[in-house]
């Protein structure tokens, strides 16, 4: 079969289609299903946590297993659910948005996906080991994760290495695609914001994933080869671990949220039937957030005893992030202002994102105030803060994106009634789940504890009820997606009345190969 023919046949049949595929749409689909599976797995861990915390006392699990659950929940959700979901969306949409026939490096694309299931199989297998799974939290602070770690830590380290390799390959591919594969006429400042935010995210990934790989490598050496990177006895410093981890970890936070900004910036204009307000400032704001993300890491460590000057610097830098983030929120609201809005499921999720993410942003600003952070740090206030940013933030944006582009992917409209049901149950569930956690934290409940004092009992059971509601409602999403793949109302090419962008110029479902010849430049509009 000649290379030329390769471009025109449809997908191969059976399992080998998925194993050997180099097609960006297939790989995008694989990422999205994988991410959904991990979302359910990580969600199951969260249900165990919420069940144990439903009442004071130990009911279901012992404290060691509880710690394994919090650790695995964090790792699976961050590296297995949120990040692969965004990579899946990038794979599906970026080539179609910029008029490219495929990703720049299709074979590497296949690799970067297929090593992921191995990483998570390895990580999950630790649950069955004698030593138990990693139990030192997803932030794995040394020396709890080195000298005092269960022996499964080595599997954890290799799993993190593989996840890192996958992300790095994915990012290289995305950067190469965006910089080299744009159709003629698709200038940088005409790119949809989802493409812009992903371009910046990919650079962040390339900058910080290797640092994470370095940190876990140092751990590996400390554990097995007698070095003392993080061991005070040999001249090392446990606080160094935290500096290195958060040098990765803070940009990582933005890696999980910048593509979400891109998704929301696509959806709100569509359903407001009005161009995005302040496209240029959106791009600059994204870039400044990315830049600032490198100089604020130590705000995670205000209580480790840094000198006053250091605390002040990181406080001011962190507060600064509120400015570009504020610009984004104002822009979205201005886009809605004097639009002509309808409220299909993607728009509902997008509006909920703007409100609830902003609330997460507010608590973030509160956490930046160092003296107040001394009270908030490592309590449920922080848990509430980052879950507001990540669940009704990042996860809602992924769901919004799924509803928004499902008709393009499957060729059928999803069931709008079920979609709305899913939204409202998620929206109510997530707030019952996380809002009371603010109160718990302020009243003094530390995070990562399997049991708590009696004054925390009420809000904990309320939070657990919200958790079960939120968890159960995600099964609706599964039903919606399967129904939509099987059939339904035929989707038009444009799908949504107010949609702009190249992906809406191709038929629904999007053909296996799109833009093998570049699109007509007259279809390329400013966003």
């Amino acid at each position: 079969m000649s290379a030329h023919d390769d471009h025109h046949h449809g997908p191969a049949k059976g399992l080998s289609r998925w194993l050997f595929t180099t097609n960006h749409k297939d790989i995008g689909t694989l990422y999205l299903w994988f991410s959904f599976a991990m979302f359910l797995l990580g969600g199951t861990f969260a249900m165990v946590i919420r069940a144990e915390l439903f009442q004071p006392g130990l009911q279901f699990v012992d404290p060691n297993f509880f710690n394994q659950m919090t650790t695995m929940h964090g790792l699976v959700m961050v590296f297995g659910a949120v990040m692969p979901a965004f990579v899946g969306l990038a794979n599906w949409m970026i080539p179609m948005m910029i008029g490219a026939p495929d990703m720049a490096l299709p074979r590497m694309n296949n690799w970067s996906f297929w090593i992921l299931p191995f990483a998570f199989a390895m990580l999950s297998s630790t649950l069955l080991m004698d030593s138990g799974a990693p139990n030192f939290g997803w932030t794995f602070y040394a020396p709890l994760s080195t000298t005092y770690a269960p022996s499964s830590v080595t599997f954890f380290i290799f799993a993190v290495h593989i996840m890192g390799a996958s992300s790095i390959m994915g990012s290289i591919n995305i950067i190469a695609t965006i910089l080299n594969m744009r159709a003629p006429g698709m200038t940088l400042m005409k790119m949809p914001l989802f493409v812009w935010t992903w371009l910046i995210t990919a650079y962040l990934l390339i900058a910080v994933m290797p640092v994470l790989a370095g940190v876990v490598t140092m751990m590996l050496f400390d554990i097995h080869f007698g070095t003392s990177f993080f061991n005070a006895a040999g001249g090392g410093d446990p606080v160094l671990f935290q500096h290195l981890f958060w040098f990765f970890g803070h940009p990582e936070v933005y890696i999980m949220i910048l593509p979400a900004f891109g998704v929301i910036s696509a959806i709100i204009p569509t359903f407001a039937r009005k161009r995005l307000f302040g496209y240029d400032s959106m791009v600059y704001a994204t870039a400044s957030i990315a830049f600032l993300s490198f100089i604020v890491w130590a705000h995670h460590m205000f209580t480790v005893g840094m000198p006053l000057a250091g605390e002040l610097f990181f406080m001011y830098a962190t507060m600064l992030i509120a400015v570009p983030t504020g610009v984004k929120v104002f822009n979205w609201v201005s886009t809605m202002f004097r639009g002509s809005m309808t409220f299909e499921t993607p728009m509902l999720f997008a509006i909920a994102f703007v409100v609830l993410f902003t609330m997460g942003g507010f608590t973030g600003l509160m956490l930046a105030i160092t003296p107040a952070d001394f009270q908030y740090h490592d309590t449920y206030f922080v848990v509430a803060h980052f879950h507001y940013v990540l669940v009704p933030g990042a996860v809602f944006s992924i769901m919004a994106a799924a509803y928004y582009w499902l008709p393009k992917w499957t060729g059928y409209m999803y069931d709008e009634r079920l979609g709305k049901l899913h939204f409202w149950m998620s929206f109510i569930g997530v707030n019952i789940l996380f809002f009371p956690q603010h109160f718990l934290g302020l009243a003094g409940m530390p995070r990562r504890i399997p049991d708590y004092a009696l004054q925390f009992a009420d809000f904990n059971w309320i939070s657990s009820v919200g958790g079960f509601l939120f968890g159960a409602s995600q099964l609706i999403l599964l039903v919606v997606v399967i129904k939509c793949i099987k059939g339904g109302k035929k989707a038009t090419a444009e799908v949504w009345e107010g949609a702009r962008g190249l992906e809406w110029t191709v038929p629904s479902p999007a053909p296996y190969h799109t833009f093998t010849t570049p699109p007509d430049p007259k279809h390329i509009h400013a966003q």
């Binding site: 720049a104 790989a213 140092m218 500096h243 840094m306 000198p307």
Partner: protein, 194 residues
């Protein structure tokens, strides 16, 4: 045909860009490791983590004692996990003037029936004082080998320099004592001689 050329160009462009980005990845991996010594340097300069610097190397003859100021130096001790020695300062608190050289000592006793090797790790609070406490001699510079039941006094010769902030009138020097019998050279020799 033109189309074909364009695709070729893109393909080489992709590979070249990917190679550059891969290089950046390798660079960032190396940078992660470079942060380790960099962190030590920053700590040395700023006293960031309260670690004291190594041996004071300049001439002590040039030291000028400032009698108008006095600073309390407090000594603290604790054992790290698994360390069984008795370990405590003989003088928990001394008052010095900047530039004045003082000698104090810690007592250590190995109550076990084994030869053990200990390493003391210093730390100073407030950490802004760390770079101003200069040690001419300190037991923390070497590993300490104690025979079963052996008791020793271990000395520190130090002075506080003039540059220490006016606001600091008391500083605490703390030693954490670690059992490094298993990992140290001396400890391995003991094990092999047995």
């Amino acid at each position: 045909m033109n189309d074909h050329n364009r695709q070729e160009n893109i393909s080489t462009g992709n590979k070249r860009l990917a190679a550059k980005l891969a290089l950046a990845v390798v660079g960032m991996f190396a940078f992660g490791f470079a942060l380790v010594p960099l962190y030590d340097v920053i700590c040395d300069i700023t006293g960031l983590n309260g670690k004291t610097a190594g041996r004071y190397e300049s001439s002590e003859a040039e030291l000028v004692v400032n009698q108008t100021r006095s600073i309390q130096v407090q000594f603290m001790a604790q054992n790290a996990a698994g360390m069984q020695w008795e370990f405590r300062p003989n003088e928990p608190l001394v008052t010095v003037s900047p530039g004045e050289i003082r000698v104090i000592s810690y007592k250590a006793r190995n109550p076990t029936d084994k030869v053990m090797v200990g390493q003391a790790i210093p730390s100073i609070a407030p950490n802004a004082a760390a770079q101003h406490l200069n040690k001419l001699e300190c037991f923390c510079f070497q590993e300490q080998v104690l025979q079963p039941g052996e008791e020793v006094d271990m000395a520190i010769r130090f002075f506080v320099d003039e540059a220490i902030s006016e606001r600091i009138n008391k500083l605490t020097l703390s030693y954490s004592l670690y059992d490094i019998t298993a990992s140290s050279k001396a400890g391995k020799e003991i094990a092999s001689n047995r």
